[in-house]
């Protein structure tokens, strides 16, 4: 079983290396072959994990990678279902993308990044130590950001890919910090707070969630697997996996519930006022992941896992169908024989009109949160740039004597 468990991680990673090598030497590999490599690797990974599940929980120490870095893989009731779902969804998305991205110039790049993403997720899911989890965590972050920026000739996706990556790296400080504090035997409260910080970025929790609706600029299949299903689920997964560490500090579960609850309320309000389907689905995703976090904080781990898996399957299907929304809507209306009702009107009437208007503006502006955060970040960047410019001015004066003779020579 040890070999099977290693292969579950190694196969998608091997697919990434193979596609990377093929791309580097520019071998003329057809779309069918590229797609087959990505799809089969993900499907084999899922199959291998399903096979591992038959043998009961498994914890495999594989020695050390380098000094102070133990390699441990763990397959249990938490990791196997998530790993199998990630593999199956990876295979599904690969098969879907073969037609969706047919003749796209970036076809090979997309499948390469998909293989890297699946490999990263399997590493996160099967990691038996926090250190190894960080490795997979970073790989999924990079693959996600590059998938968002997939349509690299448009400015929007590029800027949004960078924003997602910046959020990930900001929150990775929490995750790495948690690993360091845990190594040094620090208090569970500090470990818990840092883990929560680490999970908030990936799970797009309040107030770091602004990147998620923007991430929908990537190709629809990658949005489905990353932001509908697997990537956003890694935050709650991290907290589920590390619950024994942080649950010893009573304040951490309370904070987890507060963050999840705030996110759910904020995202459900904002999502209702959005005008495009992928943004609405992004906020719907955030809402559900926020609710899963509430369940995690309350200690309902089985419910959280079932909720997470169910949400991942449903949401990825919704995102995959989203480009055909109008088509589906017409079909529905034809079947009903009348326009589809909006629903929820009776709830709206319960709220006074001024409050309703304020809430609508609040939702339309996405809770003003993004504007405030972006303004703060831009202000800090301006300040640093001014310091650098002042320093540069000082150096220019110091170097003026060097430029003087050169300028005189040019003038002559």
């Amino acid at each position: 079983m040890t070999g099977v468990l290693i292969a579950a991680v190694a196969v998608p990673f091997g697919a990434f290396l193979l596609l990377g090598l093929v791309s580097w030497v520019d071998l003329p590999l057809g779309e069918r072959a590229v797609s087959a490599v990505a799809v089969l690797s993900a499907a084999v990974s899922a199959g291998l994990l399903a096979a591992v599940a038959t043998g009961g929980p498994l914890r495999v120490p594989l020695g050390t990678w380098f000094d102070g870095f133990p390699l441990v893989l763990a397959a249990d009731g938490l990791s196997v279902p998530v790993g199998v779902l990630a593999g199956l969804l990876g295979a599904l998305i690969g098969a879907f993308s073969r037609r969706y991205l047919h003749r796209d110039p970036g076809f090979r790049r997309f499948h390469l990044l998909l293989a890297l993403f699946v490999a990263g997720v399997q590493l996160v899911v099967l990691a038996g130590t926090l250190d190894l989890l960080v490795v997979g965590w970073e790989l999924t972050g990079l693959a996600s950001a590059l998938l968002i920026a997939f349509f690299h000739r448009r400015r929007g996706p590029v800027v949004h890919g960078l924003r997602a990556f910046a959020t990930y790296r900001l929150c990775d400080v929490g995750l790495v910090g948690a690993a360091v504090v845990a190594h040094h035997g620090g208090p569970p409260l500090a470990v818990g707070l840092l883990l929560l910080w680490g999970a908030m970025g990936k799970a797009a929790q309040f107030p770091f969630g602004g990147w998620l609706p923007r991430a929908m600029e990537g190709p629809t299949p990658s949005s489905a697997i990353c932001y509908g299903a697997i990537s956003v689920s890694l935050g709650p997964y991290l907290l589920l996996r590390t619950a024994p560490e942080w649950s010893q500090a009573p304040a951490v579960p309370v904070l987890v519930v507060v963050v999840g609850g705030l996110t759910a309320v904020h995202a459900t309000l904002v999502g209702r006022a959005q005008t495009d389907v992928k943004t609405s689905l992004a906020y719907a995703s955030t809402t559900q992941v926020g609710l899963v976090l509430v369940e995690v904080g309350l200690g309902w781990e089985l419910l959280a896992l079932v909720h997470l898996l169910g949400h991942a399957a449903l949401r990825s299907a919704q995102i995959l169908r989203s480009p055909s929304l109008l088509h589906d809507h017409h079909h529905l209306e034809q079947a009903l024989g009348e326009p589809v009702g909006h629903g929820g009107g009776s709830w709206q009437r319960l709220v006074p009109r001024p409050v309703r208007l304020w809430l609508y503006r609040f939702a339309l502006e996405r809770g003003y949160l993004d504007a405030v955060l972006v303004a703060r970040a831009a202000g800090a960047a301006r300040l640093v740039r001014r310091c650098a410019a002042a320093d540069d001015g000082l150096v220019r004066r110091l170097a003026a004597a060097d430029d003087g003779p050169a300028r005189a020579a040019v003038a002559r």
Binding site: R155, V158, F165, H183, A381, C387, A388, D392, A399
Partner: protein, 368 residues
Amino acid sequence: MIVSTAVAIGWVVVAVLVGREADPRSARRRSAIGATAVFLLSSAAFPDGLVCTAFSLAGVVIAALSPVAAHPPRTQARALVLVGLACGFTIADTPAVHAVLWAATAAVAWTAARDGRLFAVYHVPSVLLVASGLLVPPPVGEVLVLLGVAVRAAAVPVHSWFPRFVARAPMGVVAAFLLPVGLVVPQVPAAAVVGGAAALLGAVFAVVQADVLRSLAFLLVSVNGVVLVGGARPAGVVAATGLAMTVAALAARRGALSLGAPSGDLARTPRLAVAHLGFGLVLAGFPLLPGFADVHRLLDHPAPFVVAAVVVAVAVNGVTVLRGHLGLFAGHTGETGERDLTPLEHYAVAVALSLLALGGLVPGLTGW
């Protein structure tokens, strides 16, 4: 020691041969062939002479990626001499040898610097501090050496010469000049504090720059800060050289590089884009690349401030690298007409990146 001496002499011989060439292109070709021969020679000392091998690999990258417009034969020769002198640091770990080589590297770089006065204002004191520090007994001597090394590592606040040096000096000389910084760092707690602060401030300055060369300069400041904390990092040296030379190769194709105006297309120059991202991610301590193990070792440092500074700096450096990658190779809609890596550049980048990737996956195999 014998191999290191032969390697250092080999670099100087190659430099002399290259300096005699009249045509910069044939000089570069000869330089790359000579560099490969010396690199193969240096691998005879593996694994004990890992640092010398890494310097030689960095030398191969410098030789193959130096743009001919900014690197006439004499400039190429200077860069190769600097690589040879850096290898000289590994011959004998004695203060006198280090002091002489420290001064010699500064003198060679001075001849290639366009802002000679600015360079002298910073590096004459640096040479004097290191020389006197190596001769004075500790702890005073160690403090003096640290101050001298901090100047060359461009640790904030003695960094001001560096962004201008990166922007105006030939990049081959810049990269080769930085090679030996990690070998002279004294093992004192103050070095870690100075390094941690430099890593953090350099990272913050780098991530907000709009000019690519200034961003690269501050990124290298940050990386040098990490070197001050943890000493020489062979893989980091190769990656820093690779990133600097990739940017130089790109600047030779495009002229001024700005992140504000998108001007590249990764679909047209995929190898150049991958080289930039690959070397950058090694510098940013990304997993499965050798920089990760280097950073992981530093997390056991006893001072919490140093650990926190390194963790934040590495995270911010990752953002700087991806920002640079997307700014340089994305967002452009028209035909750029830009050439991807030439066969010579491709050879050096492929060798360096493969060894780095191998070192990241199996650290025991390559030793870094």
